[in-house]
């Protein structure tokens, strides 16, 4: 690799961290505008926001400004310190996820050896923030929502990690760049014209990953923790103003990060199927390719969200423990056998 620009370590790190910090609000802006505002509206025969800016594009920015102006309110009985810390913990988990997401051969904040494993680890941190928020709000609905969220996230983290195992076995690496590489150079039974996007050979893992990710993101049909008809609002019921904004940003930022993980592991990430492009060009084109794939995956996440009714709490737990986990274990065994035989 030839470097055009050599910076000291701390400057490079500073620039990368600044970029990652700027990317999170931008990604949640894109997802909320495209899917939550417009796509949902069109699916329900509405227009959606259309007054603020062209086609309502500035609506979310106007709302962010509104949130920032609001008074900072605590419930009287709340545990102030924990109450304030909770949204920061949730957003920190989202931020840490963005550290390993690759957008090109060299366009990544830090290319960690344990990429996938690290992503799974830091994404589990958000449960901590949710429990903190639920408890510190001094509100029964919030506590119930927090506990539901924790129970659900613990249950669905297992199939999520086990589904990833199949990909890891096939790619022979935990490194996210290595997984993209393995898909770019892979072959399916000797046919390698489009490489080997793991969605073809690991389709079961892809399905399990998407379902578990839907539950991890507490999107409908897995939105018991924020079920408004029973819990009013779940764990963030007492939050207003910019603290609510932090939760909101973390929710959609994490949705984007999970869509990015799915597109890296199953759709080949920044690599263009069937084309052998130079690394330097891919560094420029990569982010665009990634964005296209991420939006495709996110489209499915939100499509399901707007389409299906909510699962009951016992159905939700049963589905994770009795269907998804055995299925993902079977997938690991099958992948292992195929890996040894072929």
């Amino acid at each position: 690799m030839t470097t055009l620009l050599a910076l000291p370590y701390w400057q490079e790190t500073g620039i990368k961290l600044g970029l990652a910090l700027a990317v999170i609000p931008t990604t949640s802006l894109i997802l909320v505008y495209l899917f939550l505002f417009k796509m949902m509206a069109f699916m329900q025969s509405r227009l959606g926001p259309n007054d603020t800016g062209p086609y309502g594009t500035l609506q979310l920015i106007a709302e962010a400004i509104k949130f920032l102006q609001k008074e900072d309110i605590h419930p009287e009985q709340a545990d102030r310190r924990v109450f304030r810390m909770a949204p920061v913990v949730v957003l920190a988990s989202t931020f840490l996820l963005y550290v390993v997401l690759p957008a090109g051969p060299d366009a990544v904040v830090q290319n960690l050896d344990t990429g996938v494993f690290y992503a799974m680890a830091v994404s589990s941190l958000s449960v901590l923030g949710i429990l903190m928020a639920g408890w510190a709000s001094a509100n029964k609905y919030a506590l119930l929502g927090g506990l539901r969220a924790a129970g659900q996230l613990i249950a669905y983290e297992l199939p999520l990690i086990l589904a990833v195992m199949g990909v890891v076995i096939q790619a022979e690496t935990l490194n996210l760049q290595g997984i993209v590489e393995a898909q770019a150079t892979g072959e399916i039974f000797g046919f390698g014209a489009i490489g080997n996007p793991f969605i073809l050979t690991q389709f079961i893992a892809f399905l399990i990953f998407m379902i578990a990710a839907q539950a991890e993101l507490t999107q409908t049909p897995f939105d018991m923790p924020v079920a408004e008809t029973e819990l009013v609002g779940g764990f963030h019921i007492e939050y207003t103003g910019f603290r609510f904004l932090l939760f909101f940003m973390a929710e959609f930022g994490t949705a984007f990060a999970f869509a990015a993980l799915a597109s890296v592991m199953f759709l080949g990430g920044w690599w263009i199927p069937g084309f052998d492009v130079d690394d330097n060009i891919l560094n420029v084109l990569g982010p665009g390719v990634m964005l296209a794939k991420i939006l495709l995956v996110a489209f499915f996440i939100f499509w399901v969200r707007f389409t299906y009714p909510r699962l009951r709490e016992d159905q939700l737990q049963k589905f994770a423990w009795k269907v998804l986990i055995p299925l993902s274990l079977a997938n690991i065994v099958l992948t292992g056998i195929f890996k040894v035989v072929f």
Partner: protein, 164 residues
């Protein structure tokens, strides 16, 4: 090495302070959250020692699973807001003596064994692949023994919790 030393000092101070606060705080949820800080600080120390895999495992297992289960259990049973619980038992002087003894013995044996050794900045970096090679070749027997032990504990817990 200077930056590492500075960060080691900061992290060690955070870990030690949180550990002390964990046993002195009167709120059980706060105690659990201080324990989270201790475990996260230890994870950061592993990163300083270039043990990336161990650090990630620390976060996944201790913070993402064990501490979440702790908090889950505490909140599901009793989690009063405010400083209403008396959490310091009557035997705390005895416990302090035991803790001091244990700490003293550990510090003495560490200094006695490693006191003169210094970590160099160009020391080995342990890749995740090296770790897995070691675990599944040299240490395969203890690894399997531990997994059987965990399975036994799991089944034991289910048997104990079953009512019928």
């Amino acid at each position: 090495m200077v930056a590492q030393n500075i960060f080691f000092g900061i992290l060690a101070a955070i870990v030690a302070l949180s550990a002390v606060r964990m046993v002195t705080t009167r709120n059980i949820v706060h105690a659990a959250l201080y324990l989270v800080a201790v475990l996260a600080g230890l994870g950061a120390l592993y990163v300083l020692l270039t043990a990336e895999f161990v650090a990630t495992t620390q976060v996944l297992v201790y913070i993402g699973a064990v501490m979440v289960l702790f908090l889950f259990g505490i909140m599901l049973t009793k989690a009063p807001l405010g400083n209403v619980m008396e959490m310091t038992g009557k035997q705390w002087p005895l416990a302090a003596v035991v803790a001091a003894l244990l700490g003293g013995v550990t510090i003495y044996s560490l200094i006695d064994r490693f006191g003169s050794e210094r970590l160099t900045s160009d020391g080995p970096i342990y890749r995740t692949a090296d770790v897995s090679d070691e675990v599944f070749s040299t240490y395969i027997v203890p690894f399997e023994a531990v997994s059987v032990l965990l399975l036994a504990a799991l089944i034991g817990a289910i048997v104990l919790a079953r009512k019928d």
